[in-house]
Symmetry: D2
Subunit: 337 residues, 4 copies
Amino acid sequence: MIVVMKSSASARETGAVLQQIESLGFKPHISSGEERTVIGIIGSDRKVEPAAFDGLAGVERVIPILKPYKLASREFKQEDTVVEVRGRRIGGRQVTVMAGPCAVEDRAQVREAAKRVKAAGATILRGGAFKPRTSPYAFQGLGKPGLEILREAADENDMAVVTEVLSVQDIPAVMEYADILQIGARNMQNFNLLEEVGKAGKPVLLKRGMMSTIEELLLSAEYILSKGNYNVILCERGIRTFEKYTRNTYDISCVPVVKKLSHLPIVCDPSHAAGDRDLVGPLAKAAIAAGADGLIIEVHPKPEVAKCDGAQSLHPDQFDTLMKEVSAIARCVGRSI
Amino acid sequence: MIVVMKSSASARETGAVLQQIESLGFKPHISSGEERTVIGIIGSDRKVEPAAFDGLAGVERVIPILKPYKLASREFKQEDTVVEVRGRRIGGRQVTVMAGPCAVEDRAQVREAAKRVKAAGATILRGGAFKPRTSPYAFQGLGKPGLEILREAADENDMAVVTEVLSVQDIPAVMEYADILQIGARNMQNFNLLEEVGKAGKPVLLKRGMMSTIEELLLSAEYILSKGNYNVILCERGIRTFEKYTRNTYDISCVPVVKKLSHLPIVCDPSHAAGDRDLVGPLAKAAIAAGADGLIIEVHPKPEVAKCDGAQSLHPDQFDTLMKEVSAIARCVGRSI
Amino acid sequence: MIVVMKSSASARETGAVLQQIESLGFKPHISSGEERTVIGIIGSDRKVEPAAFDGLAGVERVIPILKPYKLASREFKQEDTVVEVRGRRIGGRQVTVMAGPCAVEDRAQVREAAKRVKAAGATILRGGAFKPRTSPYAFQGLGKPGLEILREAADENDMAVVTEVLSVQDIPAVMEYADILQIGARNMQNFNLLEEVGKAGKPVLLKRGMMSTIEELLLSAEYILSKGNYNVILCERGIRTFEKYTRNTYDISCVPVVKKLSHLPIVCDPSHAAGDRDLVGPLAKAAIAAGADGLIIEVHPKPEVAKCDGAQSLHPDQFDTLMKEVSAIARCVGRSI
Amino acid sequence: MIVVMKSSASARETGAVLQQIESLGFKPHISSGEERTVIGIIGSDRKVEPAAFDGLAGVERVIPILKPYKLASREFKQEDTVVEVRGRRIGGRQVTVMAGPCAVEDRAQVREAAKRVKAAGATILRGGAFKPRTSPYAFQGLGKPGLEILREAADENDMAVVTEVLSVQDIPAVMEYADILQIGARNMQNFNLLEEVGKAGKPVLLKRGMMSTIEELLLSAEYILSKGNYNVILCERGIRTFEKYTRNTYDISCVPVVKKLSHLPIVCDPSHAAGDRDLVGPLAKAAIAAGADGLIIEVHPKPEVAKCDGAQSLHPDQFDTLMKEVSAIARCVGRSI
């Protein structure tokens, strides 16, 4: 059960609701967003009567939600969430394409990538400055200088920046340079990091863990939402299975399932799923046909010398072609890039 | 290594090639198709010199193929295979839709289903007369009377029939009534059955096992091809993973991977993958966007009373809508239904 | 619900029970074993009152079983099933070891293997004459001559024979030479083959499919039991997962889960699970510690020249050592080899 | 390649080695432990000649290691690592049992649990004060007061404490009260946290991620080792698969595989793998039979009222019985509790 307070509700009115919840033997969970406060009633949902809040001032709605995630659910919000980033909209009728290199290597590489993907129609520049690497001996990213390079290249091309934040201590630096904070697959259940990006306030791109269920993805989003940050974009990037030909198994069903269960936008990352640039095009088109709100794609000016993930990075020319094909599919399903 | 004989090659010429292979210390594997004979050289591929067959009469080509599947590989045949069934083509520019109920229940059900799916654009009628059931106590299908009902409904609507053959002893009956013999996921590695449908000669729809790799799917196709039957249509229908929301995880990557590795056509079955009719539309569109050659979809006149798989069967009205959407996507990728 | 008839029940008494089931609106499923007839009531279990059979002659017991498998369940039979093979017992206090080469290659190999594994304490000789191979070009086994070699080597060493039957047409040959018919992992859901080995009557070793749940394993056993053959031995041999170091993931939990749900004996096959002989010992000991009723282990006189699975086959000397260790573990858990 | 410096090596000698590595075109990676410094040579291992370091003072050994993990590998250290905690040894001939409740709920619960598990033979008390929960609304643990309760109960019973650290900011508090810092499965690839517990210096219990390969587990250990902390205990606790009966699939093969590849001790957690107390005993015995160095088991004075994981927690009486059985198995494999 969720109690949504009016945006005009006073602290005293909110306090009365909290008291009422506790007097009924439950625990309140407060999410204070910019516009309004939402109070979850924790405990056994089934036993609370919405009528118990009827007489209380400042209460806008009481919504019974049986799903384990509350604020992320369609029951809580019927209409699709549209996330605004530097005047661009992610979700709704829009199909958004984020593109750029896996890792920021140097200024020339990122500028070239940004120029080319922007020209092709991408509006958000991606690139890793802090890289999560399985081995401590692999290239770990340029760190803060990488963030500066990203910001500069994005500004030159009027793009927004999405980049991964790996730990709580890096949040301030990433907040300074990026427009969207990415939580990588390996950190999808790093709950402390989720809470902190929830508090930080900028939009969050939350990648599904390689072995996480869709329900767990929505519960991880709930960690961010419950800190008052409603601008969460989900991302399907492949799950682990026995199949060895692809790097991960691209779970395209995640798109319509998320659309059914949640109001949050969802984008797909065919590059990390496939691990092979020959597959990126078909998988990108499939995502849009299935209803995804966008794509995040690795493009490198010279994939053959990339410091990471070269095999799955598109050449800029290939990306040009893909954008035309994806636009056509988008129109087919009533949307536009 | 594969030695392709000319269609005009005599038995003596073929014999000389076999002798040469054995004298080199290898084992020949003969596939006699309707048009020509192909001889695989079994053993360590790397050591045979194609030149060893230069002087032999009747030899058309010698092709080195390192993949474990030979006849199913792109190396063996560059151009896409197009399977012809009753004047219809599966593969090439064509997108083919197979539709109908999960199980044949009675004449009225199948006639109604056939009429509706044909009107919407499907050309091949699907339906199970022999049902593979996890439990010995579940409905096992009508058997031969079910085949008669399918044939009759297909004939009334000028459609072809695809239906599953569960065991070698059922092949003659299915050959009599069906145009395409389906091998179900649970039988993908029933090698004896594969060999027998290879010999039977009619086109085969080979479903990927729920825990089979793409390479294993191609090797199972190879069992059929190596008996001289080149009319094999592959089918992706979902694999088993930890994700519980969907019945199986629809491995859309299988489509571009198969297109890269093999010349055989591939269709997708979103119904069995999803297990939920709300997901069938998005997954069907994704398949065509990713390059699939067709779809196989469960449609039931009254899904709510279906004897099996009702939850994933489309209402005929839903199928009408889906066909329009799928046609639009097909045009987008340069194909037509 | 299951109605167990007395062993003395007449055909007329059985007929009356069938009539009663149908008059209640259900479908009876008859399993006629050597000793008694058991009648399953198919349909919604919950609605039948056991009292409905109170007055009927020949009825021994009426057992409500909600699980989808009936005859395989602990509810149907409380005490552990002990399968007797040539005077040896599989199940109960006994720990049984089956050992031998992956494939029968020639007489000398099998005789040497049999002599060595018998001396070390194995009582059942394993070896494949019909081999299920992923590729049509791989060694497919010696067929019937292989069966003769197995029988001869077993007889010389007073052992029983377990060997795989790949298709219905091979059942008569395997029945002639073997004591236990093995159903391989790829055929666990080849329902036609399950029914036919159910009718054939000899004990069956049923391997769990690489993609199959424990519940599905028990349902496949049910196919055999429901044909009146109660001598089924289950076998865990590893399932498919994302982990690549081992060939399959040895699901040791299958042992205590099967013991909880079913009365059937279960053995483990660490060789196929591991794919690496260094792991076979630890996994074999783990199986017995977890409560398994036996082991099936690949032993080859010269693993380095084995035609298949050499890397996972033990040298006879290694098997000697393993048997001593396994015997000690068996005593620890109150059992003996 | 790894260069191991003598314990007496001076900073100048170490500097000369670093210079030599760089002059050869590689990047050095320094791990300064308490006793000695180890320098990894990062880049393409194959090209460095060990002889390049022959003349340099202070160099003890040069070891070529091709595996991606270096310090965690058997090549780096032949003999088993034994971790010492308050005078107890984990690894070697010893089998160590860690036991206690899933979550610290209150003082009485933990004291009772500690008294009982110590009496039965456990030497390390487990219990969660900071709980990683899939849902933000689930009980998140008592935090620091929970740590105090754990320490007190452990001291009363002369036990060591192992407890989970969820985030970098909690490290100081956990360092104050615990003897072993546990990294949970969801944080196995939280690389920042790994590095920080590496620097913190106390022994670390590193749980395998539900989605992680054994190689990735060793690479995560490498993150800790490469910060100079060699006291890492690995833990198998089940991986995600399609099987639904158990909460996770207990990958018992992880034990002998780790023993083959690494010198680090490994313990097993049958409670979290099984999710069902009836399975804990068989799985615990299997672990010791397979060569595990210990167990971590959930025991709750009253499992039926546990705040989390009650279904998988043993009653103290069940734990008494289990310890006797486990001790017998340990003796069988030449070890003792």
